[in-house]
């Protein structure tokens, strides 16, 4: 039997009793959620279940009304802003692919690289051999080496999603939050993305929000189902999808 204190001290990300409401609507209702180091976790749930709000709270975009949000059992994320949290090592991919369209694929990755981000450091930055090698490595991982000099605007939808994932990798985060990575992708791209995410999760924790049950089955990881702002069920995909509450709230309809 593990105690709460033990779970907390081992955790990378720890949310306890987090609530937030917007104009009376309870977006999160006493949500508790733990991610361990090196874990790949999938989150499912109907629209309005609070999936995106949860990500907003972890990344500092929204402040919770009550509750605890801890990173590495020490850092209170509710006190930090987006830039701080990103520098701590939490990367976030948006639902709609958000890359710098008027920059080349290479420049997108160069900007994301985990280097000093101050005004003067960036003004006088010159690309080092080490940085070049890192960018080339990421280009390989996200399968975009052949398009490195093209503007990001000219990429296909799926490639933009990958580029954004690549940018998160360049950030060298400890925790990656990925919001609907396969929305709008072809089946082949979806399968590729599952491989890509599993590869990434070897060296860091990843939380994936997704609606595509086939994709989640492909990932083959622990699943958390959210509904109405709190956790409905947690476990393997088969366990969660056979839970009557999950079927009623999400899958059944």
């Amino acid at each position: 039997m593990t105690t709460i204190a033990e779970t907390r001290s081992k955790s990378l990300l720890y949310l306890e009793n987090v609530s937030v409401s917007f104009d009376g609507f309870k977006a999160l209702n006493a949500l508790s959620f733990v991610v361990e180091p090196g874990e790949l976790r999938a989150i499912i749930g109907p629209n309005g279940a609070g999936k995106t709000t949860m990500m907003d709270i972890i990344t500092g975009k929204t402040r919770p009304d009550t509750g605890t949000v801890l990173f590495e059992d020490a850092i209170d994320l509710t006190k930090r802003d987006e830039a701080d949290i990103a520098q701590l090592g939490i990367g976030r991919k948006f639902q709609k692919p958000t890359v710098f369209e008027s920059h080349t694929v290479w420049d997108n990755l160069e900007l994301a690289l985990n280097r000093s981000r101050g005004v003067f450091a960036t003004l006088f930055y010159t690309l080092t051999g080490e940085d070049r090698a890192r960018i080339e490595e990421i280009l390989e991982t996200i399968r975009l080496t052949h398009r490195k000099d093209e503007l990001a605007a000219n990429l296909s939808h799926g490639q933009k999603q990958w580029l954004e994932i690549g940018m998160l990798l360049a950030q060298e985060p400890k925790l990656l939050l990925v919001d609907e990575p396969v929305a709008g992708m072809t089946d082949a791209e979806t399968a590729e993305t599952a491989i890509l995410l599993r590869e990434i999760a070897k060296t860091r924790s990843v939380v994936v929000v997704e609606h595509d049950m086939g994709f989640i089955r492909d990932l083959g990881v622990k699943v958390t189902c959210l509904a109405e702002g709190s956790v409905l069920a947690e476990g393997s995909i088969d366990f969660v999808s056979s839970d009557p509450k999950v079927i009623e709230n999400y899958l059944g309809r």
């Binding site: 948006f94 920059h103 420049d107 900007l111 981000r117 960036t122």
Partner: protein, 386 residues
């Protein structure tokens, strides 16, 4: 580090533009001073000052483009920074008049004597010294931009709201400077200048030097702007313009990025104002008028925002047009300006330079695509042979 920063700035088009600016800094004064008045190549002195004025406007447009074209901050108050730089220069020029004023007071400018003031207000101290005044040309607009930006960018005021408060800022300053007891000459402003650094402001030689300085400062600011936008910082800047939240979630402090750019831009606008004032001979609160700031936006849009050369060309063309129209058909100028803005928005949304660049880019893209297709076919052969 610094050399890398400057070398990056010198891409082909910028070198050409800087070369042209430096060439006219020499050529125009030469044609004015060395060519006899009867010759077809002679440039009259009034025209030298008129061109000098265009170059100041061009620098103002370049400054606006840095924040609007590259960082997405549509400032409708850049005229304020220009006017503040102009007032700093105007205060120096007023102090140079000395006892040659109408009232002959050795220290107080005429308007203060007229208002029955007994001593110089503290904020006029030091303006008799040229280096101090030049420092203030940078510091005053820079400080205002810093304070304004500090609050606006930290509270994440964006888009049209930001534009409106910049407009309110310049309007408030205009009302303040119109008041006599502000100590800046009220609605008459500062005028009747005599000397700058001991040289008469009316003398053709001085006017030519001021012209040359305008061209050189424009070239210098173009170099700085180019170094900024071509650095990694410049890429982040465009990132802020196109996808601000992405930049934020990558760990950059967007407020600092905007603040730095806004302050640099305000200082450039201040330099433009300081060079403008001795060439036109007056600075008054009318320079703070909101309409002035909006005109700068039109010049920048016409030339092509998000390009560095565009705003310079836009400012010179529109103002040359203005000089011509207000001479030939004075009542039609505002219609022409309005029409121009609508036409550019509808038919040349990227502006003149932006459209040309886009066309050129599309051409090279097509060529490259054709090359690639040929190349791929050739590559396929040996692979098939394996």
């Amino acid at each position: 580090m610094i050399t890398g920063f400057v070398l990056r700035a010198l891409d082909g088009k910028i070198v050409v533009a800087i070369g042209i600016l430096l060439a006219i800094a020499v050529l125009v004064p030469a044609l004015n001073l060395l060519v006899p008045a009867g010759s077809a190549f002679h440039i009259p002195t009034y025209a030298v000052s008129l061109f000098g004025k265009y170059l100041c406007y061009a620098l103002l447009a370049l400054a606006l483009d840095l924040v609007w074209g590259y960082c997405g901050i549509l400032s409708l108050g850049h005229g304020a920074f220009f006017a503040l730089g102009g007032y700093a220069m105007g205060m120096y020029l007023m102090r140079q008049i000395g006892s040659r004023g109408v009232y002959g007071d050795p220290v107080l400018p005429d308007f203060m004597v007229f208002l029955n003031w007994k001593e110089l207000p503290w904020f006029w101290y030091g303006f008799d010294m040229f280096p101090f005044a030049m420092l203030m040309v940078l510091v005053v607009p820079g400080l205002l931009a810093f304070l304004f930006g500090w609050f606006a960018f930290r509270s994440r005021v964006n888009g049209v709201y930001l534009s409106i408060i910049t407009q309110a800022m310049t309007y408030a300053l205009m009302l303040a400077f119109f008041r006599n007891d502000m100590g800046f000459g009220g609605n008459n402003g500062l005028t009747d200048y005599k000397d700058i650094l001991g040289f008469s402001v009316q003398a053709p030689g001085t006017r030519n030097v001021l012209f040359a300085m305008s061209a050189i400062m424009l070239a210098l600011c173009l170099l700085i702007a180019s170094a900024i936008v071509r650095s990694k910082f410049g890429k982040v800047l465009v990132g802020v313009r196109d996808a601000e939240s992405r930049v934020r979630f990558l760990g950059f402090r967007v407020e600092n990025i905007k603040l730095f750019t806004f302050v640099v831009s305000a200082m450039m606008a201040g330099i433009a104002g300081a060079l403008f004032v001795p060439q036109v001979g007056i600075i008054n609160p009318g320079e703070f008028a909101p309409a002035n700031s909006i005109e700068v936006v039109v010049w920048t849009a016409v030339g092509g925002r998000g390009t560095l050369i565009g705003p310079i060309i836009g400012a010179v063309l529109v103002n040359a047009g203005k000089s011509f129209f207000t001479g030939a058909f004075p009542e039609f100028w505002l219609y022409a300006l309005g029409g121009l803005f609508i036409a550019v928005t509808l038919f040349l949304p990227k502006g003149i330079v932006g459209t040309i660049q886009h066309g050129w880019h599309a051409r090279t893209e097509r060529k490259a695509a054709a090359e690639r297709e040929k190349g791929e076919d050739a590559d396929m052969m040996p692979q098939a042979a394996e």
